[in-house]
């Protein structure tokens, strides 16, 4: 019996036991209307097996509280449409927040997920509205003193723990693997919250033999390859390597200078950067301070670079202060500026992009619609060939100050996970960068073929159940807290994620050791605990069904 089956069987037995327990006293005289049937949206099993399995477990647990729950698997596109564009319509949904290197700074998740200004059309799709939280989110953003900021980030996590706007479930593992007879294991770098598929591995991976090409896989086709357009996740792996940035998120999750030798705060609203000497573009021309200034000013001018505009809105002015020095003047203090802007904006050659943007100025199109955007960057790799649904080939850029040890970085698009395993076995791939199959199959491969080493790493992202605060009873923190604390996260980890995840109760992953609050980890969970919270909030169970507190009416219909 697999681990997953054993846990489901165990849970089912637990359900039976719970049903046999004496329920709460039926106090029909003190009860309000019966809580309507709740709809829990999920991606279909085929596209998100773990999340779907988790949805079934969630529904099973909530039913023990006297709720009627309908799990509604919905194709991804339609699911996104409902959750994102029809914000009044749904009750609860399985959702995930993906990890990205720039999310190593907690600002993006602390601010965007729960600040009330992003509730209407932004990422606060659950509609959490807490003025106290807003103040904390704003204060941490403005605190350039790291110790003070950390204290505010911890407070924000405590507030989210109290209010439970989501029921956080798990931080899944990023699963990757490599062939240790091809690549020196000591040269493979684990980046906090990201895993081994990162820039530091790609520049540092040292070949042990004659094979000097890294051949890795991606499940999804590339969408675009442009330094001024953010497209798919796979695309960003490639753009990260072709274009340099002033700073990079380091293996420890904290920002560090990259194309700059030095980055320093000059007061609360200014940052100085000294650009490295001797850098050049892939076409041989030197990288200058003017190129750097242009790279940050281009997204700010007009609406021609819409995707990168949000990352420069806090910049008031970029000033040349010397041959290799530049000062960023900010409109307001922004503690995450180095990560959210300097480690995000791609440096682009002014001599190529200035005429392109000038040409676009008189047209309705923007850079997103450029048919053949230039791929000249200054990064450690340069583009040799791009076939978006087949293969991307990058070559080492020998003139780079951090030139890679490998000769070529070859990304193969392989949609079939079983074939991916076969290719690792046969040597067609020597680095597994993207795996969507069963982790146990990969683990078995590492046992059969000792040359393959697996490298799981806790993700910055997380999987959760989102509650729609616009719809009662989810407007009540006590109700949300009860539903959240009813869920045993350890069961989720084992039964839905096959043990390849850690439990979650915060929007700041434990992978970000500096920022994560361990005080909110592992809250006491269980159905009895949830029943107690509901009872204290006035909810009553009548004939096994949960009712609102006295006087509260149900005026919504399921799925309305």
């Amino acid at each position: 019996m697999t681990t997953r089956r054993r846990f489901i069987a165990g849970l089912a037995a637990g359900t039976g036991a719970a049903a046999a327990l004496p329920g709460m006293p039926a106090l029909a005289q003190a009860a309000g209307d019966r809580v309507r049937k709740l709809v829990l949206y999920s991606d279909p099993q085929a596209s998100a097996p773990a999340a779907y399995q988790a949805a079934l477990l969630v529904a099973q647990t909530w039913r023990q509280l006297g709720l009627e729950v309908d799990v509604r698997p919905t194709p991804r596109q339609q699911h996104s449409q409902i959750v994102w564009f029809e914000r009044e319509r749904w009750d609860t949904t399985m959702w995930r927040m993906v990890g990205r290197p720039e999310r190593s700074d907690p600002d993006e998740l602390i601010f965007n997920l729960f600040h009330s200004t992003t509730a209407k059309a932004g990422f606060n799709f659950v509609g959490y509205n807490n003025p106290d939280y807003d103040k904390l989110a704003e204060a941490q953003r403005g605190a350039t003193d790291q110790a003070k900021r950390k204290e505010l980030v911890l407070q924000a996590q405590a507030m989210i723990d109290r209010d439970q706007p989501y029921a956080f479930l798990v931080h899944p593992f990023n699963i990757a693997a490599f062939n240790k007879t091809v690549w020196d294991p000591k040269s493979i770098v684990v980046q906090s919250g990201v895993g081994i598929r990162n820039l530091w591995t790609f520049i540092g991976a040292t070949p042990l033999g004659q094979r000097k090409d890294m051949v890795l896989n991606a499940r999804f086709n590339l969408i675009a390859l442009s330094p001024l357009y953010i497209s798919g996740a796979t695309d960003s792996w490639v753009t990260d390597l072709i274009w340099d940035r002033i700073a990079r998120v380091g293996p420890d999750g904290l920002p560090r200078p990259w194309a700059a030798e030095k980055i320093e705060w000059a007061g609360e609203k200014a940052v100085d950067a000294t650009i490295r000497a001797g850098m050049s573009w892939h076409d041989g021309r030197p990288v200058t301070v003017d190129d750097v200034i242009f790279s940050f000013e281009a997204p700010a001018r007009g609406d021609k670079v819409p995707m990168y505009r949000p990352f420069v809105v806090d910049i008031d002015k970029v000033e040349r202060t010397g041959e290799r020095t530049v000062r960023f003047h900010l409109k307001r203090p922004n503690a995450s500026f180095i990560t959210s802007s300097l480690a995000k904006i791609n440096l682009v050659p002014k001599h190529i992009w200035e005429p392109v943007l000038a040409d676009l100025a008189n047209k309705p199109e923007n850079v997103d619609q450029l048919k053949e955007p230039s791929t000249v960057g200054s990064g450690p790799f340069k583009l040799a060939r791009a076939r978006f649904n087949e293969e991307i080939v990058l070559e080492r850029f020998g003139a780079h100050w951090a030139a890679p040890k490998m000769e070529r970085w070859i990304l193969r698009i392989i949609p079939n996970p079983e074939a991916t395993i076969g290719m690792m076995r046969s040597g067609e791939l020597n680095f597994l960068g993207d795996y969507g199959g069963d982790p146990e199959v990969l683990e078995k491969l590492t046992k059969d073929v000792p040359a393959i080493q697996m490298a799981p790493e806790t993700d910055i992202g997380f999987e959760f159940v989102a509650f729609n605060h616009r719809r009662k009873p989810f407007d009540e923190p006590a109700f949300r807290r009860a539903l959240s604390l009813a869920l045993d996260r350890n069961v989720m980890v084992q039964a839905a994620w096959n043990g390849y995840a850690v439990t979650a109760n915060s929007h700041v992953s434990p992978a970000l050791k500096f920022w994560h609050s361990s005080a909110v980890d592992n809250p006491k969970t269980g159905v009895p605990q949830a029943r107690e919270i509901l009872a204290q909030a006035g909810y009553r169970t009548v004939d096994g069904k949960l009712h609102y507190p006295a006087g509260r009416k149900e005026d919504l219909k399921p799925g309305e």
Binding site: R76, Q77, Q78, G422, E428
Partner: protein, 325 residues
């Protein structure tokens, strides 16, 4: 000529109907194409700007007229997702698909015709007793299962063939023709083409067999026997040639059908073809790309249908569509 003109008009009408159905189908599907681009960096204004850019803020009839106008001027539009001309994206995948389809189909038809004729010849023997159920079983096996089986045996097990893609990692060629003619491409093509061939061989085989059985009872075959010709000569020179007619028609139609049905094979073998492109476009509501891909497949189908009609007339002068009332 009049027949050809009428057939061309029919084909154009069919294409117009396909275009219209495709246009409406994608727009009536649930889901906003923007849902595929959800990103916390995208403001409400940016979302609206994106709808404007792609003309999705205009009434449906206006979108339809623009779409038809663009098609008439040979413009398939820009992919929502890749922001590239749909034609360029399709043409990057089309050669791979056509090579896979033609190879798989040719293998299937050569095998089907030969074995079909053989089974008809061996009518009533134990060979037929084993052969026909075997053919039906192979035909009924799901493509992904056959593909995975071939992968497990010939790639993962014996290591004779690569597990995916159309070329080895990082292989460079001076031209597409050189690539298609390379041994490396052939090695990559073998398993997917074989999977497709195994899936497709049932139709030509059974068609050839049943037509042969009919033909074998014709007067001219009896005459040949009376002349003392060998059984082998009768089967090959007289019966098989006459039985080939419906098989040729089926081949032409099969090419059109197989073009759209390669999705599974392309996914199992990571083959960079039209089928995978189509699935990606549909799942991300990339209307222009999905419409373009469907249109291309429909175009191949309609053209091959026309070719089948013409081939039928040319191969058998007794058949004239003009005389059919």
């Amino acid at each position: 000529m009049a027949f050809l003109g009428r057939r061309l008009l029919h084909s154009l009408f069919v294409l117009w109907a396909v275009v219209t159905i495709l246009f409406l189908m994608f727009r009536l599907m649930p889901g906003n194409p923007l849902a595929a681009y959800i990103n916390e960096t995208m403001t409400e204004d940016q979302q609206e700007a994106m709808l404007r850019q792609f003309g999705l803020d205009r009434p449906l009839w206006e979108q339809y007229l623009i779409y038809i106008g663009n098609l008439l001027s040979g413009e398939l539009g820009l992919s929502f997702h890749q922001r590239k001309p749909v034609w360029d994206i399709l043409m990057a995948a089309f050669p791979n698909s056509i090579v896979l389809t033609v190879t798989g189909l040719s293998l299937a038809y050569v095998f089907g015709v030969v074995v079909g004729a053989f089974l008809a010849w061996k009518r009533g023997t134990w060979i037929e007793g084993i052969g026909v159920p075997l053919v039906l079983t192979t035909r009924a096996a799901p493509e992904f299962w056959v593909g995975m089986l071939l992968l497990a045996v010939f790639s993962f097990g014996l290591g004779w063939f690569p597990a995916g893609g159309a070329n080895s990692a990082g292989a460079f060629y001076d031209s597409e023709l050189e690539r298609f003619l390379s041994l490396d491409f052939l090695r990559h093509l073998t398993l997917p083409a074989l999977t497709l061939a195994l899936y497709l061989q049932g139709l030509p085989l059974l068609l050839m067999r049943s037509t042969m059985l009919e033909v074998m009872h014709e007067d001219f075959v009896t005459m040949a026997r009376m002349k003392g010709l060998s059984e082998w000569r009768i089967v090959i020179r007289h019966a098989a040639r006459n039985a080939l007619l419906p098989v040729v028609t089926a081949f032409a139609l099969g090419l059109g059908l197989a073009m759209g049905g390669n999705v599974v094979v392309e996914t199992v073998f990571s083959w960079p073809g039209l089928g995978r492109l189509l699935v990606g476009a549909v799942s991300s509501s990339d209307y222009p790309l999905a419409q373009g891909a469907f249109l291309l497949i429909s175009g191949v189908f309609v053209v091959m249908n026309l070719v089948a009609d013409l081939a039928y007339t040319a191969l058998d002068p007794r058949v004239s569509h003009d005389r059919v009332k």
